[in-house]
Symmetry: C2
Subunit: 263 residues, 2 copies
DNA sequence: TTCAATTTCGTACGCTGTACGAAGATGTCA
DNA sequence: TGACATCTTCGTACAGCGTACGAAATTGAA
């Protein structure tokens, strides 16, 4: 009950990223701190946007403090008056990127609702694949992430799921969408590193593969691999995997609610 | 048809990691290269094992060339006579770690088969969480990964799925297991970074959160979050998520094969 | 006008992967 | 046996990373 909000022997345990995440919605917008000192030349939003654009264009490893600062003609250390460290910046990027998507109205049909949740996530992750690599602490607590989560829960609300099941269903759909994008990323990365297309790589390594695998037999893997290679000219096709897996998962969820309360 | 296997203007396009991966199963075991020169003081397997142990204990970032070399009293650069670069080592680690698991016999019941595939992957990733971060090019082509894949295909064989669907079903199960482990990792990482348990963090940030979220309302998220917080003392519980999601996915797959061939 | 607060940022440190080249060890061949 | 080719070992060095530190510049308030 002290007037002093922070005591030396009982330091503020609250996460510093939290206030940063919610800087636009806090009642007292932007704690004034003090009016003195030079104004910041660019806004934090601009910094985060630049970092997002950089990550979109060149991947997360290209998002270095020096590279971001250079975009504004600033020194690298200047960024540390905006953000405590790089990880905090990644959290802000994740939430801000999430805020760019518009959340469409949810259709009536339950199947279409669930599908929309997964496909929106899929599209977003394709636009910002680096989001998959931001595995930082609690980025989901930002304002845009929270809006998203609320919207996702609306999609699974009223189906007959328990509260816990609603959360878990959303998690399954989100995770599944992420995995598809990860597959795509893997292929793209492989093509970049090797400088060959998928088909070219298999052609270039066919001899080595058959020599090396001569002592082992993989009847099923061979059959399935051949089928896949004929269907599309690669080992896997993430787009079809999306359709198939999504259908199975939604089937399973809807079957579950149907059996739980048979009308 | 040249006797010379490699020509200067048509360099070997085959992936150098491939032969390294299959070094134990190749017909001509260990290309002799030439008998001259000192013997290597440790074997490649030992190096890879040490790297795996290091990753298990301290995480993938701790797996530096210098750290691995130090375990054997070697200089960092010495490792480059074993492996072309760090990424290649990660690929070897992934396959070798996969080889440590024993693949149990598959049960008769289709549901139990699919569950076993997912739970084996889950257990393995919990033992080696860094496997989730090894996103390198085609590590799945190693001998142990190939064995695993063949085994996984056996689990979904005979259910009535097409070849493509078999592959996709395995992918969905594997990806799902990975996502659960990722959730667990996220929690563990958060607790390590903040130095608080999940419950402590929520307590420490309760005031900030309610202040900051004052201007927004999340009726569903609040309800679901409260339910989750009461059920277990954290925001999520990966273990239950595993049971729930796995049941739904398997339901969906089995319903799919049932409808495809009634009887 | 003075001063405290704030932003800016040059320098430096420890860490990373790894290129380069020297030094040492070993087997083969004359 | 001596000479040599081939291999392993590894010290040094470099570029790039996040960021700690502290000085300089800038601004509003007193």
């Amino acid at each position: 009950m002290s007037v002093v909000p922070e005591q030396p022997d009982h330091p503020d345990q609250s996460d510093p990223s939290l206030r940063l995440l919610w800087r636009h919605r806090t009642a007292s917008p932007e704690e004034p701190k003090s009016k003195r000192g030079p104004k910041q030349k660019v806004s934090l939003d601009e910094v985060v946007d630049a970092a997002i654009d950089l990550a979109d264009a060149e991947g997360l490893p290209a998002v270095t403090m020096r590279a971001i600062a250079q975009r504004f003609g600033l020194g690298a250390m200047t960024l540390y008056s905006y953000v405590p460290n790089r990880d905090a910046l990644l959290v802000l990027m994740a939430d801000q990127a999430t805020g760019r998507a518009v959340l469409p109205e949810l259709p009536e049909d339950p199947r279409k609702r669930l599908e929309l949740v997964a496909r929106l996530q899929y599209d977003e992750l394709r636009a910002h694949p680096w989001l998959l690599e931001v595995q930082d602490v609690r980025p989901w607590l930002g304002p845009n992430m929270s809006d998203r989560y609320e919207w996702q829960l609306q999609a699974v609300d009223g189906l007959g799921l328990s509260d816990l099941e609603m959360d878990q269903t959303v998690a399954v759909l989100m995770g599944f969408a992420g995995n598809i994008v990860r597959s795509e990323q893997m292929l793209r990365r492989a093509e970049k590193v090797t400088g060959m297309t998928e088909a070219e790589w298999w052609a270039a390594n066919y001899d080595t593969l058959s020599e090396v695998m001569a002592g082992s037999h993989y009847p099923l893997a061979n059959r399935v691999g051949t089928a896949a290679g004929e269907a599309y000219q690669a080992a896997t096709d993430p787009a079809r995997e999306l359709d198939y897996g999504l259908a199975r998962i939604i089937d399973g969820v809807l079957a579950h609610v149907a059996e739980g309360s048979p009308d």
